[in-house]
Symmetry: C2
Subunit: 547 residues, 2 copies
Amino acid sequence: MQVIPLGGLGEIGKNMTAVRQESGIVLIDAGMSFPDEEMPGIDLVLPDFSYLREHRDELKGIVLTHGHEDHVGALPYLLREFNVPVYGTKLTLGLVRPKLAEHGIKKGDLREIKAGDRQKLGGFGMEFINVNHSIPDAVAVALRTNAGLIVFSGDYKIDLTPIEGEPMDLNRYAALGQEGVLAYFGDSTNSERPGFVPSERVVNETFNQVFERATGRIIVASFASHIHRVNQVVEAAKAHGRLVGVTGRSMIRNVQIARELGYMDLPQSMYVDQRDINKVPDSDIVILTTGSQGEPMAALSRIAAGQHRTIEAGAGDIVIVSAHPIPGNERGVSRTINSLMKRGAEVLYTPLSRVHVSGHAAQEEQKIVLSLLKPKYLVPVHGEYRMQKHHKDTAISMGIPEENILILENGEPVEFEGGEARRLETVSSGMFLVDAGSVADNSDAIMRERQQLSEEGMFIVVARINSKSGELLGPPDVISRGFVDPQAQNGLVDESVATVTKTLERTAQRHVTDWSELKKAIRKDLAGLLSEKTRKRPIILPLIVEV
Amino acid sequence: MQVIPLGGLGEIGKNMTAVRQESGIVLIDAGMSFPDEEMPGIDLVLPDFSYLREHRDELKGIVLTHGHEDHVGALPYLLREFNVPVYGTKLTLGLVRPKLAEHGIKKGDLREIKAGDRQKLGGFGMEFINVNHSIPDAVAVALRTNAGLIVFSGDYKIDLTPIEGEPMDLNRYAALGQEGVLAYFGDSTNSERPGFVPSERVVNETFNQVFERATGRIIVASFASHIHRVNQVVEAAKAHGRLVGVTGRSMIRNVQIARELGYMDLPQSMYVDQRDINKVPDSDIVILTTGSQGEPMAALSRIAAGQHRTIEAGAGDIVIVSAHPIPGNERGVSRTINSLMKRGAEVLYTPLSRVHVSGHAAQEEQKIVLSLLKPKYLVPVHGEYRMQKHHKDTAISMGIPEENILILENGEPVEFEGGEARRLETVSSGMFLVDAGSVADNSDAIMRERQQLSEEGMFIVVARINSKSGELLGPPDVISRGFVDPQAQNGLVDESVATVTKTLERTAQRHVTDWSELKKAIRKDLAGLLSEKTRKRPIILPLIVEV
C-alpha cells in the first residue's frame, strides 16, 4: 500500500493525496490554490494530474473531506479527464454541484455520505468521522488498507461547543486508536500556534455586543464558505430584530445552498435581496458580504471604494472584517480597512477585536488527537515546511519516535508493508496554472516571461531586409513598452536604432541571410547597449521583414 | 505659519513635511518608500518634489530626525535639485554621507547637531530632543515659529532601559508642555497596539539563552540600520567568546560606519570578514546578515537557497530572524524560514520566539507623550489611515477635543494663526517611481502598462502594406508574448491572422492609407477576437511596414 501526496505538502492549498494498493487508487481531496505575486494574470493553481493519468485505470474514486476550495476546487478539472465516483457529505456535494455545472459537467457520479458511515471503494474500507472546521459537514477519513488502518484528518479543530452539529468525534478516534492506527496524515496549518483554538462560539459574544450598540448599518465580511460564521450573523440578526441583506456572488450562492440544504435557518421574511437593501432602514439590517481578504473585485472592496452598485457605508455604520488575512493579502485587507474608515465607518478587525477564530487545530488539539489515535507513523500534511516541522516537534514531545514522523513533499510517496514505512522514488508533482480557462503546461517559462515583461520591459525591432543580399533597407524601427523614462527612452531609441543598424551592416558584409542568426546578433548587441545604459534586461523581439 | 505634509501620511514610508512662514521653509525629513506588488520593476518610491520646486527660493534647509531610509532615502535625489544645508545627528549624517557619495554628491552641506542643541534656521528656532527608536541618535524636533511652538516626534518609543544612550528626554517634553505646544505631529505607526512596547533589552535575554545552548553557528538577520540590535549580538558574542562575521552589503557598510563613529564597540580582533568566515569553527562565530525581510537577493535568502558565495547553514546551526515582516513581505520571509529549516537549521522568529521588539510607541507611550506635551492640536503622522485614526482615538480618550485632531493626507496643508488651525487648499503631492536610476514622471501610465503586459500579455501584428494603395502584401505576422497555452495560442494565431487580413482587406477597399486609422481598425477587431476567445485584453501593437 502506497500513499502518494500530490498537493498540499510544503504549501498551503491544493490538497490532494492518492492511496494505492493492488485493488486500486482512492484519491483524498482535489483542491486548488490561489496564485501568488509571482504569477501575474493567473486565475488559479491546480495540482499536477500526471501521476493519475499514468495510473488512469486504477483510479476508483475521489473522497472529499469538506467543501473548501483548497480541497474541492480542482474537481471540475479532474472530472473532465476521469469519470469516477465522488464521495462527500451533503453540504460538500451541495457546494460542488454548481461548480461542476459551471464547467459543463452535468452528470458527475456524486455519492452522499455522512459522518459515521462506512463504505467500500476500490478494495478499501472507508469510514467517515465527524470533525469541526470553519465549514459544517467536515469529516476525517479512515481507510482500512491491505497494510493497515490509516487516518486522514482533513482540516479540523476540536470545538466542544460548536455553533451547530456535534463536537468532533473523539470517541471514534479513541476506538480507532484501540484498533491500531498505522499512519496518521494530520492537518499542520496551525501547528506553530501553542494552546487550543477557541470555540467558534466566542465570536458570538462580539457579534452580540456590536448588534447591541449599533444604530446604523452592520456589514459583516467573511469567507462565503464559512457557513458557521454566517449563521452566527443570522442568529444575531434574529436576536436583535434586523433583516439580513446579502451581496457578493459567492456569498449569495452559498447562502442559497446552505438554506436549501437545511444548513441555515434564514426565513424568507428576513432575507433581503441586494437590490432591495436600500429600502430597509440602516438600523434594521445587517449585510453579509464577500471581500474579507481585500480582493479588489469583491463586494466589500467595492463598498470601500464607493463603487458598489447599491450599497454604501459611512458614518454610523459598523463593518466587521470577520476573517484573518491569508499571508500575501495583508496589504489588500489594509487598503479596504483604510478606505472604509475614511468614509467614516467604524471597522472591527483582528487582532484588535475578537471577530474571528481559526478553524485549524493548535498544538494542544494536535496532542489530543495524537494521544487518542496513537499512530505508529505521523505524516504532517496541509502546511508549509515550517508548519510540518512544528507538527513533528509536537509529536516528538508526545513520544512518537522521530524516525516515525515523515515530513514529505508533494510527489514523495511512502510504501507501507509489514507495519513499516519506506520512501519510494519521487513521482511527477507540481502545479498547473489556469489562465482564463486554459491550463498551462509550460507555467515556469510563461511566468518568467510575464515577470520579465513587467519588470524589465520589452524592445521590439522591425528591420526591412533584402532577402537576397541580407542588406538593411532604411533604418530599423524600434518600439518599447514598459520603459519608465520617456525622455531617456527617446535618446535610447536613437541609440538602439544606431546599434541595430551597425549590427545589420556588419552581418550584411558577411552576407548573412540566415534570419535566426541575424536575430541573435540583434538581440546580443541591443541587450548589451540596454544593460549598459539602463541596467535593465528587457525582452528583445527582432522582427525581420523580407522585401 | 503653514505645515505642508508631502509624504508619510496615509501610508508607511517616504516621510517628508514642510514648515513654512514668511522667513522661509524648513523641511523635516526626506524619506523614500519601497515599491508594492503593483509596481513591477521599480527600485524605490520618492515623494513628489513639485511643491518644493514651486517654492524653491524659500527652502532654507532640511532636518533629519534619524538615519532610516523612510526618513533620509530621498535626500540624494532632493540635493540634486536643492542646494541647502542638512541638519542631523552624527550617526544620521554618517549613514547619509556614503549614499550622497554614491549619487555623485560630493560636498553636501551637512551640519551635525546633537540632542539638546538649539539652532536657528530660516527664521525658525530649532531644538532637538533625544528619543528612543530602533536606531541610535534619533531625535524629535521642536520648532519655534511665528505662530507658536510645534513638535515633530520623529519615529520614537519610550525605552527607559535602552541598550545605549539615554532614555527618551521626557523632562524636556514636560518643559515644552509647560511652555505651551500649539501642535504635535506624532508617530502613529504602532497606534493600533495597546500597552507599552517592551524595552529593546528584552531581546538580550533571548540572545543570551541562544548563545548559551548553541553548539554550531549562530546567524542573526536584522535590519542593517538596527545598530542597537547588532550591538546586542556583539555583546552576546563577547560574553560567550564568539567572533563576529558580517555579510550583506548594507550590513557590512553600517557596521563599518557604526564602528568608525563610535556607535559600536567591536574590536578588530573579533571582526571576521565574510571571506574568512569558513576559517572559524562553527561554535566560535556568530554571523550578522541582511535579509530579515526575505528580500530575494539579500544574504540570508542566498544562504537559505544554498547560493551564498561562502556561507552555508545546516543541521546544528541556529538562525535568528530578528525582525518583524513588513506587510507585503510575509511570503518572502516564510520562504526563507522554510528553506533554512529544510537545510536542517533551527530557525527562531516572531512571534514564536522573543527575538524582536518594535521601535515605535504603542498606545500607553502615546498617552504619556500627549500628557507631557499637552498640545492644543494633534496631527497623527507616519501611518496609514487606520493608524492615524487610532492615534486620534487615543488622543480623544486623553481629553483632546476631537476638532483639534487633524487627520491629514499628503498634500493637505494646515495654517496656524492666532492659535487656531485652518485647512488650506491641497497642493501637489504623490509619488515618483525610480526605475534603474531614472525617475518616472508618468508613473501611473507605465505601471498600468506593465501590469497589462504581465497579466494580459501582448500581441504584435506586422503587416506589409503597399504605401500607395493601402493593400496588404501577403499574410500579416502575428507574435504573442505572455500567453499561456501554446496549443490554444496556435489556433489563436491563425484566427488572428485571418481577422487582421479581413480588417485590412476592408480598409484597402475603402482606400484607407492613414496608418493610424489602419492601426486603430486592427486593434479593435483583434481585441474583439481575443476577448471573446480568451477573456484576455492584451496590449495589441500593430506595426505597418511600408513597401
